[in-house]
């Protein structure tokens, strides 16, 4: 990294500092938490918003892309809640237990808290912080990298989020759906969630982020996920905010031995999106599927940055990320696979593909392998290209109109990633969403 440079603070940086000063004393948590907030903010204040000379943010110059900092959202009023009721359209038909957050605040009366399955407990971060829950205090921040500026800002300003615990051996059949909805107020939210899935438990966790179609709200969401040995966890994140939104979110997960872990990121909203995945395979014999699909148009910018850290031996990971870029959209994928010295027999394969529907669209791709073990199978591949004219002609020669032919080919392109989702209902919801996107393309 470069030597510290004295930077002139941007409007956004100044506003964030003002916000922190204003709300610091009102944010939930005891003195220990307050000290962590201070330390995190200090880190941000020193580094400022990340810019293109910071390697991890090379393609997403947040300093340039974040023109201002919106005021922190106040708790949702009746109007905001009423609007949020209509949200969740995209996954509306899915049978899931919904936990609803409006403008970053947990709303119990919009959430489904009845008949919790044995072994499942859910709660709000704000309350857990206010109660000084010792387990929470011990675990919070264990996984999310403290030196990441987005995480630091989240730690400094986190207001609410979900706290979920699934006891050893429990199987939670209904997916848990964390629905984060922005109301029509142009505000900033900082949510932090903590999910613990104990030994042998099984669950599916969906995070979806939505907002009004033209919304220009700012979202910073972080989720820390602890999965014990032999746990089976499926995680899906849907980033579908309005056309003006700035979305930065982080998943930080640690997976135990002999587990199964799947995560899928679906991005089709927001003006600027940074989707961070920090995944650690801590125990041997775990199989992980790390996938994603992005559909971007106009001037949308979406960056998926992944670090998959193989710490223990005999783990397998498959990384498949696909993006479809139209107009002047900009897709970024940075994927780093680390294989530690003891992670022998690691089998990791990363593939990333961009489909460019316009000559002005841009795809950046930065795969990295850092291998310290000597008996591993690791590989990565990347492609970027336009739709295949020969295939298009073949479909048209069978009577399929050009728009429909292109839609079929785009769906086929994304299929490889989306078919990795085990839950049929969710898979169909995403396929439906892709179809909707294609239809709007005309």
């Amino acid at each position: 990294m470069n030597a510290e440079v004295a930077v002139i603070k941007t409007a956004a940086e100044t506003a964030l500092a003002q916000t922190f000063a204003q709300v610091r004393d009102r944010l939930p948590g005891d003195d220990a938490i307050a000290a962590r907030r201070d330390a995190a903010f200090e880190l941000f204040a020193k580094q400022g918003l990340p810019h293109r000379r910071v390697e991890e943010w090379k393609y997403t110059d947040l300093r340039a892309l974040m023109h201002d900092a919106k005021p922190l959202a106040s708790p949702p009023d009746a109007t905001a809640k009423a609007r949020a009721k209509d949200a969740g359209r995209m996954l509306g038909d899915l049978d899931a237990r919904r936990l609803v957050f409006v403008d970053g605040v947990f709303v119990a009366d919009l959430s489904d808290l009845r008949d919790l399955e044995p072994g499942l407990s859910v709660g709000s971060l704000a309350r857990a912080l206010a109660n000084g829950d010792p387990v929470l205090t011990a675990r919070l921040g264990k996984l999310a990298p403290a030196n990441d500026v987005a995480v630091a800002l989240n730690t400094a300003l986190m207001g609410d989020g979900a706290v979920i615990h699934i006891a050893a051996g429990a199987t939670i059949e209904r997916p848990l759906h964390l629905l984060f909805v922005a109301s029509e107020r142009p505000t900033a939210t900082f949510t932090r969630s903590l999910v613990t899935i104990d030994h042998g438990a099984r669950a599916m966790l969906i995070e979806s982020h939505e907002g009004p179609s033209g919304g220009d709200n700012q979202v910073n969401a972080a989720l820390e996920l602890f999965a014990g040995d032999a746990a089976h966890v499926d995680h899906v994140k849907v980033i579908g905010e309005g056309a003006g939104a700035l979305h930065v979110s982080t998943l930080a997960a640690a997976i135990g031995a002999h587990g199964r872990f799947n995560t899928f990121s679906f991005i089709n909203g927001g003006a600027v999106v940074r989707n961070q995945l920090f995944l650690r395979l801590d125990g041997e014999g775990t199989v992980a599927g790390i996938r994603g699909a992005s559909l971007l148009r106009n001037h949308q910018h979406a960056d998926t940055t992944l670090v998959a850290d193989h710490i223990a031996r005999d783990c397998q990971s498959r990384e498949v990320f696909k993006s479809v870029l139209d107009d002047e959209a900009h897709g970024v994928f940075q994927g780093r696979i680390i294989v530690r010295r003891h992670a022998q027999k690691t089998d990791a394969k990363m593939m990333t593909q961009a489909l460019l529907l316009s000559e002005r669209a841009e795809a950046d791709n930065k795969p990295e392998l850092e291998i310290f073990a000597d008996d591993v199978q690791c590989g990565h591949g990347a492609t970027a290209g336009a739709l295949d004219d020969e295939l298009r002609f073949y479909l048209m020669a069978r009577g399929i109109p050009p728009a429909e032919a292109e839609a079929m080919l785009i769906q086929a392109f994304l299929g490889e990633a989306i078919e990795g989702i085990e839950h049929a209902g969710l898979r169909e919801a995403l396929i439906e969403s892709v179809a909707g996107w294609l239809k709007a393309r005309g």
Binding site: D389, E390, L391, F393, Y394, L395, M396, A397, R398, G399, I400, P401, P402, E404, A405, M408, L409, Q411, A412, F413, G415, E416
Partner: protein
């Protein structure tokens, strides 16, 4: 009126003239064979008729059922009843064969103002037709042509033709790469579709296929022009004597 009328067709690809004044007239119900040596322009003719992007005419005219073919997009030509069986059928990973067949069939029906086929009717039709062509159900479950052998791909083309029931089918070297059993299956598929209102243009290098699909008219294509036209016996003549006599430069 002929179903297909090609008049003085000239086509250039990458600045090189491939078709140099081709004339062809195919009436409803007729089967025409177009034979010729490699490089004579056979596949170019097939692609021009189907509407492949870079295969544009410089001079000449093609009318299909009275309509100017060059004013129609490839999908419009297909919906109007023109079908090309590709010499090299493409693999489309991620697109299920059944989805492909159904989308194609319904797109054409829609354009013709017909109702879409119901799922049971569609399935029944596909299964029956596939069965006759020796295409098993397992193949239909795969992505279009992915993992198909050369012969399976050709049979899949014939399956599409049988389902789409075109008015004019152009078969571009459908016999290439087929063993005798597959050839018989393909020929049988074509013969079953022969009808007074349906025409075929069978493009081939060898006479072999024409033992099974007996043509009404045989044309010899050489250097971008039809240089001889005759009955089915012309194919046998070509088989015996080769194309050598047709490859001399024809005086302009």
């Amino acid at each position: 009126m002929a179903l297909l009328e090609v008049k003085d067709l000239h086509v250039e690809i990458d600045g090189r003239e491939i078709l140099k004044g081709l004339d062809l007239e195919v009436k409803a119900g007729e089967v025409h064979a177009i034979m010729g040596p490699n490089g004579s322009g056979k596949s170019t003719l097939a692609y021009v008729l189907a509407g492949k992007e870079e295969y544009r005419p410089t001079v000449g005219e093609v009318r299909f059922d009275g309509r100017n073919l060059f004013e129609m997009e490839p999908d419009e030509r297909a919906a109007a009843g023109l079908f090309l069986a590709f010499q090299y059928p493409l693999e489309i990973p991620g697109v299920a064969t059944m989805t492909f067949l159904r989308t194609a069939l319904n797109a054409q029906r829609k354009k013709r103002g017909q109702a879409e086929l119901s799922t049971p009717d569609f399935l029944k039709k596909v299964r029956e037709t596939a069965g006759k062509l020796g295409i098993d159900q397992e193949m239909l479950r795969r992505a279009v042509n992915v993992g198909f052998s050369g012969g399976e791909k050709k049979r899949n083309e014939i399956l599409q033709m049988a389902l789409l029931e075109p008015r004019l089918a152009v078969l571009d070297e459908t016999d290439s790469g087929l063993d005798i059993d597959a050839l018989k299956i393909v020929a049988d598929g074509v013969n079953r579709l022969r009808a007074p209102e349906r025409s075929f243009v069978v493009i081939t290098h060898y006479q072999r296929l024409l033992n099974y699909i007996v043509p009404d008219v045989v044309h010899v294509l050489s250097r971008g022009r039809i240089v001889k036209t005759g009955g089915k016996e012309l194919a046998l003549e070509l088989e015996a004597r080769g194309y050598a006599e047709y490859q001399e430069e024809v005086p302009a």
